[in-house]
């Protein structure tokens, strides 16, 4: 629960009065504000934030935060239909972790633009399809065409 900081102030007529010293704003009570703040973070910071506590972790699952992260540098803004497509494929958070982050890690010098985004989305879609189609390939792990993104690589 919130805690009010109460201080005593001396008034001119020698009476003490209670006043609020510091205006408090309990962030944990206002999830929407928390979301707004998290939306403005970059990837690593956002991941750190998600590790703060259970509440923040749950809030960080909000897909709009990740959407913002994915599209921050892309202009013009992608259409609204994109949101439904990506949600159907698994959401922005998964898109970020499966595709975008490895791409950025592998090619740190690229300028994140439509082309990279388009390619990431295509790969994401292939990944979704593989999970659908695979069934029991070889028993263990279903194949993933995104595996090549996750493994360390000799990139010059």
């Amino acid at each position: 629960m919130s805690e009010k900081r109460i201080g005593m102030v001396e008034k001119s007529n020698n009476k003490r009065q209670r006043v609020n010293l510091v205006p408090t704003f309990p962030i944990n009570d206002h999830h929407d504000v928390l979301v707004e703040i998290l939306r403005r973070l970059d990837g690593p910071s956002l991941c750190s934030a998600a590790c703060v506590c259970r509440l923040w972790s749950a809030v960080a699952c909000n897909d709009s935060i990740w959407e913002e992260l994915c599209f921050r540098q892309v202009s013009p803004r992608p259409s609204l239909s994109l949101r439904s497509v990506v949600s159907a494929l698994g959401g922005y958070r998964c898109l970020y972790f499966l595709c975008i982050r490895p791409v950025l890690a592998r090619l740190p010098k690229i300028i994140w633009s439509r082309d990279q985004l388009q390619l990431s989305l295509s790969l994401y879609c292939v990944h979704y399809y593989e999970r659908l189609y695979v069934g029991a390939w070889l028993g263990d792990a279903p194949p993933s065409s995104l595996m090549f993104l996750r493994k360390p690589v000799n990139v010059v």
Binding site: P78, S79, S81, L82, S84, V85, A88, L89, V103, R106, L107, D115, Q116, Q118, L119, L121, S122, L123, Y124, C125, V126, Y128, Y129, E130, L132, Y133, W137, L138, P143, S144, S145, M147, F148, L149, K151, P152, V153, N154, V155, V156
Partner: protein, 525 residues
Amino acid sequence: MKRSHQETSVEEAHSMGKKLEDDNNMDEFLSALGYKVRSSDMADVAQKLEQLEVVLSNDDVLGSNALNDTVHYNPSDLSSWAETMLSELNYYPPSLDLDPTRMCNLTPFSDDNECSSTNSENNSKRIRLGPWCDSSESTRPVVMLGVDSQETGVRLVQALVACAEAVQQENLILADALVKRVGSLAASQAGAMGKVATYFAEALARRIYRIRPSSPAVDPSFEEILQMHFYESCPYLKFAHFTANQAILEAVATARGVHVIDLGINQGMQWPALMQAMALRPGGSPSFRLTGVGGPSEGDGIQQLGWKLAQLAQAIGVEFEFKGLTVESLTDLEPEMFETRPESETLVVNSVFELHPLLARPGSIEKLLATVKAVKPSIVTVVEQEANHNGVVFLERFNEALHYYSSLFDSLEDGVIIPSQDRVMSEVYLGRQILNVVAAEGTDRIERHETLDQWRKRLGSAGFDPVSLGSDAFKQASLLLALSGGGDGYRVDENDGSLMLAWQTKPLIAASAWKVSDVTAERRR
């Protein structure tokens, strides 16, 4: 699969090990040629032959006289023959020649009869060789210990080519001996070269012993698994799919309905990405109808995958229709089978590695292209291997294939640290192609790859005009390759409007797009 081969290499390994102790063991190679040389005498014989050459070349008159006077018994016994020759000619080798470190770039280390046997073999076959042999011609059995894999790699290639030459000349006894040699060399060669050589050696063995069919039959579901692993472990198939998709997207940019005929549906891995791109098209997604053509072995699988594609389409909001066509061969396709709807749909025909098998039967490719032309597609996307593995002369095919598959295996090695299962499966997948190119003949040989130029001629004469792939396709391909690792190994090259994927400057896959060239035909959108 490799059993016959393993046996021979085990045999060879045993004999190699024993050569040092067992004096009576004759060298395999030379015995195939008709000469008997004890393995322990190899170096000695080599030296003598060398000296003989020097003498004979220096002193013609004297030499020929001496030769005429001497009687030689059992010329197949090279050792004593050379001995008698030299003594007849009163040849006393200058002490310089006995210097074991004459070839200064060879370290006097290790045993190995390998080098010496190669020496005498080469000496007996050809007296004068190029610089390659000079460097390894030595009076002592010296060979690089440690890893001079480049030198053993060169020897491996030489042995492979020599074996292929023997096969070309129908000299099967020599070929047999050589192929065992290759097997043992390949086993000691690490890395991509060794693996490629093993497959080529097996293919040659199958050809020599006339083992049919050219490759062991596998379950069709196993074929699918192999292809999936190949898809995942390297960018070739992804490049093919993404580039073709880009060409299709550009061609149907304003269409309300799209009908794609995929001449080889396999697992349908190409289409999710296309559907996703269409779903995000500004202005809304067109309706998407897919007709997938598959072989009889795929059977029910095609319906299954149609179902999965439909699920995906529903998830992303694309109107989707699927039809599967099962035919024995692509020549069985008739225009009516596709049920085209020209008034409402733009038609696309897609072929990824499906055209070259038709070259096995004369007339097939023309029939297919005629069928394709008859359905009046707006665009035809073609992706094929960039290599000429369809030459008439076996040796040329062999050399081309060796170069091509070496590059492919090399790229698998160098690239992303691929999980080993993926890589092994990809190698098996490619290995089956190698077996087909080298060991099969006639209608059995379906991996009849041809270069882009050859395809251009064929498609041109069938009535198709090339369509340039735009810069978007190039950018996307470059990005895909940059992601795939392999350092700077992969490259995209533009070739007259078509894109080629190359590994270390060797082009491997070519993607191109075509339209029907009949300009008077009204093209309906």
